[in-house]
Subunit: 349 residues, 2 copies
Amino acid sequence: MTVVKAYAATSPTSGLTPTTLERREPGAHDVEIAIEFCGLCHSDVHATRGEWGGNTYPLTPGHEIVGTVSRVGSDVSKFAVGDKVGVGCMVDSCRECEACEEGLEQYCENGNVGTYGAKDPRQNGEITQGGYSESVVVNENYVLRVPTNLDPAAVAPLLCAGITTYSPLRHFDVEPGDVVGVVGLGGLGHMAVKIAKAMGAEVKVFTTSAAKVEAAKELGADEVILSKDEQSMKSAGRSIDVIIDTVAAPHDLDPYFRTLRLDGALFQLGLPSSAMPPVNPGTLIRRRLAYAGSLIGGIEETQEMLDFCAEHGVVSDIEMVTAEQINEAYDRMVAGDVKYRFVLDTSTL
Amino acid sequence: MTVVKAYAATSPTSGLTPTTLERREPGAHDVEIAIEFCGLCHSDVHATRGEWGGNTYPLTPGHEIVGTVSRVGSDVSKFAVGDKVGVGCMVDSCRECEACEEGLEQYCENGNVGTYGAKDPRQNGEITQGGYSESVVVNENYVLRVPTNLDPAAVAPLLCAGITTYSPLRHFDVEPGDVVGVVGLGGLGHMAVKIAKAMGAEVKVFTTSAAKVEAAKELGADEVILSKDEQSMKSAGRSIDVIIDTVAAPHDLDPYFRTLRLDGALFQLGLPSSAMPPVNPGTLIRRRLAYAGSLIGGIEETQEMLDFCAEHGVVSDIEMVTAEQINEAYDRMVAGDVKYRFVLDTSTL
């Protein structure tokens, strides 16, 4: 067992404070990772503040982990000491159900093992602890290879925000000539713009704020639609193949459905804590539309996404923070004051 | 011009009464059809009673038409006098938009021309009149060939109820080994059961009423699930690939979504007149589900459906009515008292 420095919440109202964690010795198939960077995801805020319920404290969040392999178990074949690697939202799954066998571990029928705050059945039900820490030990099959031509700090958010947007775009077979709409320009939204552009799509960003038009264009958006302007929305009617909706607050989807072409789909990735307005089935019927969900991505697909980003030079736009700045960063995330992802430098723990 | 006997509503409260209609002389590409049978669709009730708004009276409904070609225009190549033919929910479309060019005329970007109650741009904006009449004149490209091995009266409902359920099942690529769920056992639902079975699927019917269990099994259902019984619904969890939901009243979809497997889809075909309860995006996200719509089918696909039904001996279960019984039949439809479709014998007009 190794004792490492970490930051943890001790209650929903404690904020994040310095602590230590015990990490297991690497088993035969385990990789020990010296963590260098960890993205700050909005889920981390929800979890540490108990907004989704069911938490156990103390809780060290963080599931956008990048670091270097420091030790490997005796039977590890995929990684060697010194490799640059990453860990995303899960560290294990049942490995036996249909979903796991298809490489869709995120949809494991027995529940994937989240990177933090989850019971780990293979570790006597111990609660997993995340990446706001000096190191982590993970089975090699749930570890990703980080391309060496990308800035490792800016890669960290790809492990959650990147794959969460890449997977539905890939699932919908986005290719050059397609038109992708992006609703919401935060951590997920800005990745959706970059990835859709890299796939060769034309990208239209929906925003409620005229102040964000320039920022969206800087990210690569071909067009920015003011969603509160009826005329703009009408002009965008029947022009989009797939919409990536990253807004995690209740909002009426009907105006967005109307911008979709025949056979279009809207993927909702954000999870509002209160009910969405009703969907109008007539709108779906008239153009054979689909209102769909999508959850992160499988391990194989996450590796594919990283390799795709390496090929196209795609990373997240980040603002680096020290451990002491985490609580302030959380408040700024809630206020939407970040372009577009905070990343923790774990050398400051 | 030919004057023919028909039944029409003269106001939302008039009911259907005897009248006459003028049918145009067949143009070069037109087919004149001596109507023999016309299905009574729930849409006919909504339209004649003004429940969907925007109607012009007098209105002769009927869009499940089967008859025999009585005259053809000079340039008609697809049909000859004496052919058994059908007409479904549309009699024309713009023929130029992307949807029309792809054979998806039902999604015509300029609006398909409904078989009744629609302005027909190629006939000086005249309002179309439907199949509760002795004859109809339709462009040959919107006429279907009725397989001669099937009972023509029982074929009539295939032109709306049949294609409306066939199209989403085909769109989802249902094949042997798939599990299809059917919600609601009316005109559409009973066709969904028969067609899904003919496609080789295992079929599970959801019903609120224990009294319908036997009827569902007689139609071919492999399993009947009492949707109000929590334990039954739980047992059906994660067991279905695609659900055809034909219920046109507001109902909570979440319990049905939970019966879907990973990548499952629920097609809602019924159009409630008031809002549906909200959809929980979390349920969609956790299994990459889709909530989708679908509208009848294109002309080519409708012909494919008729040929498929001929091959598999699929027709509608019908109860024949005379013209005088139409109003009573409407009341029985509203009360759900029909197994499963009324068909008008037009010789009684």
